[in-house]
Amino acid sequence: MSGAIQKQGLSPRVGRFLALSPIILLILGDALFFQQNSDWRTFPILIFYIFLIIRYKITATTTFLICLVLFLFMYVHYIFSDPKVFATQYPFAPFGEKMAEWLYLFLVIGVIQKWRE
C-alpha cells in the first residue's frame, strides 16, 4: 500500500490520512450497524490499527487525535440523548457507549505509544 501511495506521489501525511480513514470508518460501522459489541470485530480492528502504527509510524499524537474524534461522536450522542438511554445496555448498547469503549481502547494504545516514543 505504501509503495502504491509513493508511486502516486502522495505525501506521507496524506498516506497516513488514507490509512487512518478506514479505521474511523470501521469503528463507525461497528457502532452504527451492529446492535451488540463483539470481540470478533473489536480485536481485529485494534490489531489492524497496531499494524498501521508500525507500518506508517503513526505517532501517539495521531492516536490521541483519533480519540478526540471518538470523543466528539460520543459527546454529541450523549448530549442529544435522554439520560435514560444511558441507564442500561439492555437490549443493546447505545451508540455513545460503543464510542466510549473505543475511546478507552484508543487512549490505552496512545499512552503505550507515548511511552515507547
Binding site: Q89, A100, E101, L103, K114
Partner: protein, 805 residues
Amino acid sequence: MKKLFRFSKPKIPVYFICIVLFILPFFWLRPGELELGGDSSRLYMYDPDSFMQADSLYSIQPDGTGVLRSDQAMLPFLFLLKLFYFVFHSSYIVICLLNSLKLVGAFLFMYLIVVEILKKHAQDYKILPLEIAGILAGLFYTFSPSVGESMQFSLIVSNQVFLNPMVFYLLLRFLVSQKSKYLWFAILTTLIFSPNFTLVVPSLYAFFPLALIFLGLYITFCLGKPLPLRKIFGGIILFLGLHAFHLIPTIMLIFDPGNILNTRIFDRSSIQNVGVDYFSSVVLHSMVTKSFFYSYSIPQTQWTTFIAPLSIILGFLIIRAREKTFTLIALFFFITIFLHSANITHLGNDVYKMMFYIPGFSMFRNFPGWFMYVQAFFYALLLGYAFFLIFSKLKKRIVYISSIVIMGIFILNSWKFISGQILRQPHRGTDNVSTIIQMDPAYEKILSYLRNLPADGRIFDFPLTEFGYQVVPGLNRGAYIGPSPIAYLTGRSDFAGNPILDPFSVTLLNLIKEKNIDGIKRLFGLLNVKYIFYNSDPRAYEEYFPQVPNTVLLKVLPDSASLANLVDKIIGEKIVNFGTYYIYYADKNYYLPHFYVPTSVIPYDGKKIDHLGLNTSFFVDTKIADPRIGYIDSQVCTQVLSSCREGEVILISDIPTITYQKINPTKYKVIVSNANAPFFLIFSDKFHTSWKVYMTNQEAEKLKIQGRYFDGRIQESYHENIFLDNKTFETRNMKSLPETQHFTVNGYANAWYITPGDSGGESNYELIVEMTQQRAAYFGLGISIVSFVIFALVLIVRRVYNILI
C-alpha cells in the same frame, strides 16, 4: 500540623472554598430535620449512646432472633459522635457536621494531593497553574456523583469520600518526606473511622490496594526514592494492634462455618449465585460512558460533562513522551475505568467474572457502587495533571478566565447536589414522601418507654415490612425507612420485617392469609414475642407506601382497616399508647419466655422443604394447651431419647423450676431448682455452637424476681446490661456441656439436654449460658487498648526526648 497544611502561597481561594463547602450542608436540612434512613441507616447520628449500647458492644444482632455478627468497628466513631452530641445536643447539627466534613475533606485532600504530586514539575512561574489545577481537581472530585449521590441513604462506608484522599495524602507525605508523624496521623484517622477499615468492607479493598501500589510505584519509579520499609512494617503492626478490637471478632466469623461471611467467601455455589449471577445482572446497567461523563442525569446539564474527558485528551496531546507520573496516573485511571464499568470488551468482562472465584471477590458484585469512588479519585488526579499541563501553556489572564468558567460549569453540572436536592428526593414508589423527617415526639416517647420495660421478651412490629425495615412517619410529609429504631436504639429485640422472621417468614404470611389467629399466637410464642408494637397511622402503611416496603403484607392485608382488624384479634392487654403508637401484650396464654423447659417434645421430619432450605414442617397446630413444646428434628431426638417418632407427643412430667437473668445480650444466668430427672433447656436465640452452657458449681444465687410464668415454674429476674466487670471472664476455667447435648430446636433456637449426671447429682444449681464468640471481642479490645497505650507512650517519650536533647 502547621506543616501538614503548608502549601504554596495563593491559599485564599482554597480557604474560601473550604468555608463555603463547610457551610453548604447546613442549608440542605432545616433545623429539626433529619435524614437517617437507608440500608444501614444512620440511627447512630440520632442517638449515638443508645446505638452503642444496643448494637456495637456485643457480637449479637439486636433485632430478630439474635444472629451472630460483629459491629465492634463502630465503637471509636460512636465515641466521636457522642462527643459531638455532648457539645451540640442536636442530631441535626451532627448530621450537618458529618456532611461538612465529607465535603471539606474531599476537596482539601484532593487539592493537596494534586499540589504535592505536581509541585516537583512546577518552577516558580508555574505556581498559578499548579494551584488552580489543584483547586479544580478538588472541586471536580467533591462535586462528582460518587460523592454527591452517596449523600442520600448514606452508608457508613460513604465516609470514604474524604477518607480515601485524606489517608492517601498522609501516606504520600510520609513516603515523600519519610517523616513518621504522617504515618501515625493516618493510622489514628483509620482508628477513628474504623467502620471503613474492617475486614469485610469492599470499599477498603476497592481503594487501598490500588492506592498503595500507586504510591509505591510513584515513590520508587517516579521520584526514585527508596521505600522506608522499617517504618512501614512498624506502621502495619501498629495498625493491626489498634484495629484488633474489630479484626479479631471478624476473623472468627469468617472462619465460622455457616456464617454468611464464611459462605460468601468460601462457598462455591454462593459465589455463583450471590456473586457471578448478581454481577451479570448489574453489568447490564454499567457503562463506560458514565466513567467519562459525570452527571446527575439532568438533561439540561448534560452538555457540561465535556470538560473532564476533553481536558484529559488535550493533556495527552500536550504531554511530552515518557512522562512517568502522568503515565502512571493514566495507567491507574484505565484500571479503575475497567473495574468501574466491567464493559471493556467481552474478554474483559469474562476476566472480571473469573475474578469472582477468588475468595472474597464476590463482595464486588455491586462493582459500580464500590469502584466509583476509586475511579473518581484517579480521574480527578489525572484531570488535575491535565489542567496543569494546559494552563502551563496559557497566559495568566486566560488561565484565570478559563478556570472561573470551568468552575462555573462544574457548579452547574452538580447543582442538584450543591442545592441539596439529592437529599430531598422522595422515597421510591411514593407520592412525594420525603426521606427527610421531623421526628414525631410520640415515637420518641415510645422508644423511651420501651427502653425501660423490665422483661426481655421480644417485640413484634405492625405493620410488618419487607427487608427488615421499620417505617416511621415524621411530623412532615416524610418518613424514616430503615433498620428498626426499636432494636438499634432501645436494645429491645424486635421483628420489624419479614426476612428477620426466618425460618418462619413464609409461615407467618400463610397464617395471616388463612386467618389462623391461634397459629399466629402460637408462632409468636415460639419466637418469644411478649409485646406487640402497632402504629395505627395509615401513613405508615398503604397511604404513604402503597408498594415498597409493605408489598408483602399488603398482599394479604390490603389496607389499614384489615391490618387493624388482624391486630385486634391477636393482641392481649394494652400497655400504653402515645399518639398512634400502641404497645400491647401478646396473648399471655401462648407466651414462652426467653428460657423455658418444655413439658412436651414433638419430633418432626427433618427434610428441607422451604425456599431457604430450612424445615418449617414442625409448625403444626397441635392444640396442646400448654405451649411449652420443643419441636426437635426426629434424627437429633433419637440421640437423647429412646422413642422419637415423627408427630409423636413425648410428655416430660418431671421438670425443674428455672429462674433466668440477662447479664448482657451474650450472657445469661439460669438458676435451676428441683432438677431430679433429665430435661431440655430451651433458649430462644438463634442456634449457634458458640452458645455454651457452663455449670458454675457454686451455690445458686438468690435472684430477685420480676415475672412468673406457668405457676412459677419459670421465673424472670431483673435484667442487667453489664459489658465488663469482675465476673465477665468467670467461665474461662469452667467446663461447658458437651456439644452432643446441644442442638437446634423449634427450627432456630438452642436446646440443651441436661441430665443429673451433668450437675454431679445436684438438683439445685446455677448455669451460665454464654456466647463464647464475644470473648474474641474482649480479647481484641484488650489488644487495641494496650497498643494504644504503647503508641501514646512512645509518642510522649519521643516528644520529651526531642525537647530535652
